[in-house]
């Protein structure tokens, strides 16, 4: 009885404190106070839908489009790599994109990585080897910030997992550059600050990254695919999905095998459950 009485008193006290000091002032403010201020940039944000037709790896049956990954790699190498590192990916991983061992050796050697002079021990550079990881374009974070108006270009290895709906996000971002609607901007007093760039698919619409894919044919695809901006954006988004999760397709394929086994095992378990309980209702000896 004491516990219940104490409980009722404590319960009413907590409720009174919550209602009188938090809920009522909050409600008055919500109902009669000024509406919360929204940044002008929200008026310009548009949610992207990703590339038309989606990606080949979407859905439970999704598979890599190896040719697309190779094109995406080319876009990364020729455009993104100027500023963005890819530190969790090694050259040896490129074999998964359909390159032969010799091609990977050659590809690795086309990159310059930091090394040590074998005779003096002084820091120097050398051609990459398959076991090396993609080198960073900057020696350190301070250099990266100094070269980019104080905004450090993020590492791209995990970018598509580090954003909500990342593959589509990367695509949308790359095709989202442009100008803010001048009429609306004038009305709201919106201005893209100097050093930033308008991008309708970036959460606060002002992004520090200048438009990386600026014109069709910026990259000459080895397989002859026409390098339009949306095409390059889609290819590099696919490539960055692979860098974020090289095991994605293997994971889904393993999943079907595991689910198949589990469905079979569960069906057997259900039948044995039914059989064992069959004699139970009604129980008679």
């Amino acid at each position: 009885m004491t516990i219940r009485l104490g409980g009722i008193i404590v319960g009413l006290a907590i409720t009174a404190v919550l209602v009188l000091w938090s809920l009522v002032p909050g409600f008055i403010n919500f109902a009669f106070g000024p509406p919360p201020e929204k940044q002008a940039s929200y008026a310009f944000y548009e949610h992207g839908e990703g590339p038309e037709g989606g990606f080949s790896f979407d859905g439970p049956m999704g598979k890599w489009d190896v040719a697309q990954l190779q094109r995406g790699y080319q876009v990364y190498k020729e455009v993104c790599a100027a500023c963005h590192s890819l530190k969790f990916v090694a050259f040896r991983n490129l074999q998964q994109l359909g390159y032969t061992e010799a091609e990977v050796d050659a590809e690795a050697a086309s990159w310059t990585v930091p090394g040590l002079d074998p005779n003096t021990g002084e820091p120097t550079t050398r051609p990459g080897e398959p076991t090396d990881y993609f080198p960073s374009p900057y020696p350190n974070a301070i250099a990266a910030a100094a070269a980019n108006n104080n905004a450090i270009p993020p590492d791209l290895s995990l970018m598509t997992k580090a954003r909500h709906d990342g593959s589509n996000y990367v695509y949308d971002l790359l095709v989202g550059y442009g100008e803010a609607d001048p009429e609306k901007a004038a009305k709201l007093g919106f201005e893209t600050p100097p050093g930033l760039y308008f991008n309708k698919h970036f959460p606060n619409v002002n992004i520090a990254m200048p438009q990386p894919l600026v014109l069709d044919g910026q990259v000459s695809y080895a397989d002859g695919t026409e390098a339009t901006i949306p095409q390059m954006a889609k290819d590099v988004a696919a490539f960055l999905t692979w860098t974020a999760e090289p095991s994605l397709v293997q994971r889904k394929q393993t999943g079907w095998f595991v689910l198949g086994f589990l469905l079979f095992a569960t069906a057997l378990a259900f039948l044995s459950y039914k059989q064992i309980w069959a004699g139970m209702k009604p129980k008679k000896k």
Binding site: R4, T15, L18, G26, F30, A162, R163, G255, V258, W277
Partner: protein, 453 residues
């Protein structure tokens, strides 16, 4: 510690006879989850979740021990070693996804286990100790899960650690030094990461120990059941094996199908993208949210937006932050007195019309609202919703349950579990035949329970 009609373990081979004399481990298993444990025959699928929770703990320990072989708890490399597991360790991605989603599924299963306990009043005498130990397990799980989420050292790891340890700073006088002591520094850093890893490795084994106590305490009165009538005779029970091993086997299969679907097809759906960004003390995420299984309690924490002041004087008695912290911890700690708040002699919610209404139309919607509000940014209308739901949460347990249990007129209960399953006539028949077979040695003529020594 069982019913008189419980089957006795009989070692058959020379080896098991020898073992039974020296260390009766097979006897223990036989009595715990074998044919030697009589269980009410009317358990529904809600009674599957205890076994499933135990299974989840095993998944977590096995995958966790292997992950620990490849992980390094150092702030300079922790994020990288997780990626090393994902990319270079054979089947490392499967291990890590199973561990991360395993935590979520552990909580799903345990929440269903708790809701079952709340609806069928599994906490009532004579099972209070099982419930109390269960609350201890839940608190240990929360601590373990929180510290585990810090280990990948992503943005949410770091800022989650900052926010949660910051709760302790709300305590008057000792709060700030306490937070520094817990973290081993002024902000989450290598010291915090290292101790969290150490404790994250230790606590699951503590949980396993309390789980053993939980099951031990369960075997004293035996399992509860959906009718809420205690076992009266042998015809009310079936041996755990093969009846419930078979049913749990089926339940386990269904659980594993759902689990595998998440691990292999949506492994990051329950996580936050920000945790794939390495921890950066200089960049605060837009919305710091804990893992989904903490959302209801996070909503209670944030519901208190106003300091408790003396009106018109501006004197602050209790700051809002401390109120929130007290309420959040209180919302779980009050479960410790739940067996004494709800005095209704009837256990099952099916036979308690008033309780039933409050449970389904009050408590469950409240939990849903708290869940949604806890995961949402601290904006209206979520704050108001969380305040209303928090108020109801405390009213439900502390005010409504005690009063309802006082004034409610329960529906008539069946005489026995057998009657609940078979109907009156057949129950009488089953009871008679049981007596003829001499299997009802533990039942007195009035049908009351007579536990064996």
């Amino acid at each position: 510690m069982s019913f008189a009609w419980a089957k006795q373990y009989e070692p058959k081979t020379a080896l098991t006879k020898w073992l039974d004399e020296k260390l009766p481990l097979p006897r223990l298993v036989y009595n715990a989850v074998g044919a030697g444990y009589p269980v009410p025959r009317n358990l529904n699928y809600m009674w599957n979740f205890g076994v499933l929770a135990g299974f989840c703990l095993m998944i977590q320990i096995v995958t966790g021990v292997v992950l620990a072989m490849h992980y390094a708890a150092n702030q300079a490399v922790a994020f990288g070693t997780v990626e090393h597991i994902m990319r270079n360790v054979n089947w490392g991605w499967a291990l890590r996804y199973a561990h991360a989603n395993g935590a979520s599924f552990f909580f799903i299963v345990v929440y269903l286990h708790i809701f079952r306990g709340l609806f069928y009043s599994s906490y009532k005498a004579p099972r209070e100790m099982i419930w109390l130990l269960g609350v201890v397990i839940f608190l240990l799980m929360m601590a373990t899960a929180f510290m585990g989420y810090v280990l990948p050292w992503g943005q949410m790891s770091f800022w989650g650690a900052q926010v949660i340890t910051g709760l302790f700073s709300a305590i008057p006088l000792v709060g700030e030094p306490l937070q520094v002591w817990l973290l081993g520094g002024f902000a989450p850093d290598n010291a915090a990461l290292n101790r969290f890893f150490s404790l994250h490795f230790l606590l699951p084994f503590v949980i396993a120990g309390v789980v053993i106590l939980h099951i031990w305490a369960l075997h004293i009165p035996g399992s509860s059941n959906p009718t809420g009538v205690e076992v009266k005779s042998e015809s009310d029970t079936v041996p755990f094996h093969p009846y419930y091993t078979a049913k749990d086997g089926f339940g386990l299969g269904v659980f594993l199908i759902a689990f595998a679907a998440m691990v292999f097809f949506l492994p990051n759906a329950l996580g936050h993208p920000d945790n794939y960004i390495e921890a950066n003390p200089l960049s605060t995420p837009a919305h710091i949210v804990p893992e989904w299984y903490f959302w209801p309690f996070y909503a209670i924490l944030r519901a208190f937006t106003g300091d408790l002041t003396i009106p018109f004087t501006g004197i602050v008695l209790i700051p809002a932050k401390l109120l929130g912290v007290i309420a959040m911890f209180g919302s779980i700690l009050l479960w410790f007195i739940l067996p004494w708040l709800d005095k209704s002699p009837v256990r099952s919610g099916h036979y308690r019309p008033l309780f039933n209404k409050f449970f389904w139309f009050g408590f469950m919607p409240t939990m849903v609202v708290l869940f949604i509000a806890g995961g949402a940014p601290a904006e209206e209308p979520y704050v108001l919703l969380s305040q209303v739901a928090t108020a109801y949460y405390f009213l439900h347990f502390l005010v409504i349950l005690p009063i309802v249990s006082q004034i409610e007129v329960p529906k008539p209960l069946p005489f026995s579990i057998t009657e609940a399953v078979l109907g009156k006539d057949k129950a009488a028949e089953a009871s008679r035949t049981g007596t003829v077979d001499g299997g009802d040695a533990g039942t007195l003529p009035d049908g009351s329970l007579q536990p064996a020594e």
